[in-house]
């Protein structure tokens, strides 16, 4: 579904060129759960951002369902993000002045869905992530785990084909992190592709494949032997 070939990313830091990615080749198949691992500064988040069209590469080729995306306009990329991708961030990134329901409704609003329908769908998604009793709560009134559930509901709003998760449990206690991971695993089972950045080996065990990145390069890709967690 997603094919990266020779992707590079170079930052200009005050005249000094810093290479974040150096010729990354990567494929993400439909319905696949891919974990990207690597030490801090290895380029894993940069890779995720390029995959999610949140950032553009300096070179190489990116194809989404065999169509190159590099030449697309800002508007077209925004449309792809809205219709095909969902994002879950370590810091949740909920709009603080909007309620849980309104946060989930945001991608639906951007898609132009009528108010009544979007309200209903957002409500259903919050029920799905176990927050039916927190629909009108603002982010500041929710725990970290609840906020991340809202973020997951928001990511699912437009029925994405891929969910990009950047350290989704990084700011959560272990138990809550497990709950979030269970939700992602369920989504994967329902056929949603998941690309998750983590440096936690235990979390990566849930994935189908682990891609290891170091110094801006993919140093290995290994299929995960399914353990008991995966059967959960």
């Amino acid at each position: 579904m997603i094919t990266l070939q020779g992707i590079t990313k170079v930052y200009d830091a005050g005249g000094e060129k810093i290479s974040a990615l150096e010729g990354v080749d990567l494929n993400v198949a439909k319905g696949e759960f891919v974990a990207i691992m690597g030490p801090s500064g290895s380029g894993k988040s940069t890779l995720l951002h390029i995959l999610g069209l949140l950032d553009s590469s300096s070179g190489g080729e990116y194809k989404l369902e065999d169509r190159p995306v590099q030449g697309l306009s800002d508007k077209d990329k925004a449309h792809l993000r809205n219709q095909h991708f969902g994002f879950i961030f370590q810091s949740f990134y909920l709009l603080p002045e909007y309620s849980a329901l309104e946060n989930v409704m945001l991608p639906l609003s951007l898609a132009g869905m009528p108010v009544k329908e979007r309200r209903q769908k957002a409500g259903e998604l919050l029920v799905k992530v176990g927050l039916s009793h927190r629909v009108n709560f603002y982010p500041s009134m929710l725990s970290g785990g609840q906020q991340q559930r809202v973020a997951i509901a928001r990511a699912l709003a437009n029925d994405p084909t891929v969910i990009f998760a950047d350290e989704p449990t990084g700011n959560l206690p272990l138990a809550m992190g497990e709950e979030i991971l269970d939700i992602l695993t369920d989504l994967h089972k329902q056929g949603v592709s998941i690309v998750m950045v983590t440096h936690d080996e235990r979390l990566a065990e849930r994935a189908d494949r682990v891609v290891r990145v170091q110094d801006g390069k993919v140093i290995s890709q290994e299929l995960v032997t399914k353990g008991p967690h995966h059967a959960k």
């Binding site: 950032d55 508007k75 809205n82 990134y93 709009l95 951007l110």
Partner: protein
Amino acid sequence: MQSRDTFGMGFRALKERPLETGLIILGITLASCVAAASLLLLLSQKAQSDKILQGPAYREILVSSATDAGQSTARAGITLIDQKATQSFQLDASDLPSAGSQIPQLAYGYRAETNRFRVGNFGGPGGGAVAVRATAGGNASASASAAPVTAAAGGTEGQAPSMTVVGPDGKATTLQIADLPPELRGEAVPEGVTLLKPAVDNFQGVNVNPSFFLAYGVSTAEGSLFTDEDAANNASTLVLGPGLAKTLFPDKTTAELVGQKVQLNGRIWTLVGVLEKGSADLSLANGNSLADLAFAPIRQQNFGGFAGPGGDGGPGGPGGGFGQTRNLRFAVAKVSDLPAATVALTKYFDDKYGEGKVSISVPFDKAQLSQSGFERLLWIIVAFGVGTLVMALINLMNMMLTRALRRQTAMGIMAAMGADRQTLASLQAVEGGLMALVGTVIGVGLAVPLYELLYQAGKTLFNLQTKASFDWAALLMVTPALLVLTLLLALLPAWQTSKIEITTALRSE
């Protein structure tokens, strides 16, 4: 994203910081109020003054004997003039047709002298006082103090009104009406004549030659104007402006007034005509509307043979009466003829009476000087107003940029969710646009009363004679111009801040 959602989210962002929002709106309101008021005043004033300066009063050239230059004409009641004093330099009314025939730019020549009409037999029905100045001994500087004269009420017989005249020696003499010369006594009402009783005690009038009406291009709605023959025969005919007619006789139609008689300044007058309504748009150089004045023929002897200011005399001819006078008025057909006519008139009078003997003034020049002084002040106010507005808008832009910076993360989140640059800009634009719109609309609304205040200030400071009518067309020009300016400067930061790097924006928290 639906525009309703964009508007809703922008409006919501506006409410997030009510104090900051309120201050920005207040700043735009005040600035646009000052800018709009000054612009309105400038545009209105310019249009009005241009129109007024094209009027007949500003096509006049006033010629006065130099000794009278700067003196005001007697306005109330009688002025007793020492005969020797009147022997000072006088103009000849025959100069009107004479100069007119020699100077091609002159279209009209006439005399026009303001006069105060008092209702009734001298003091009027209420017995109001009339100022009398007695000058004795041929010494103009030794004029006696003014003495009030209590006069009998119009038509009230049997009372014995008197007046006290104090001479230069300080001796006061009390005179009974019976002691006065016949011309100073009130005219007896003939049998069978019913007088109309005006609703006010006194009012403003002008003694003019018939050619005055030609110069002003005004005619009557009812009745007729008085003629050269009326002037020559010392006829007591009176023409009223329509506004004055309504004030004096609110219960009468103009048609009912024609032919009626009224006693004014002791004399019985016949109302021969009422001017057309269009006379309300015409005014003398002193600002008095023709509609609010009464017009009497300039006569040989005012008040029954008592010499009026400057005297008068002789039969009238085309362009004016003959005799001695202090003021003559000429008019040109168009304002552009004024300079040449003025030069020619100066030469004419210098040749005839000697240099410096006559004073020639052009009301147009004075009015233009006054108007341009006011216009300069207006430009300063406009510059101040627009400057204030620009400062307020720069402040708005700064505020918008600051708000946008504060919202970088939120904008990054929205972009990640699928908002394109246009959507992000629209959200910001709604916020800035609403503040600019509300501030400007309130500001322009407040500009209307401020306009009146500025106008009154200008009128007081610069003695403007123009009417304070609000120019709605100017408002229609100013409002969209200010709206476009404020909206443009409010939308500019919205477009600038909508260009974000999503990953940078997300990290900005």
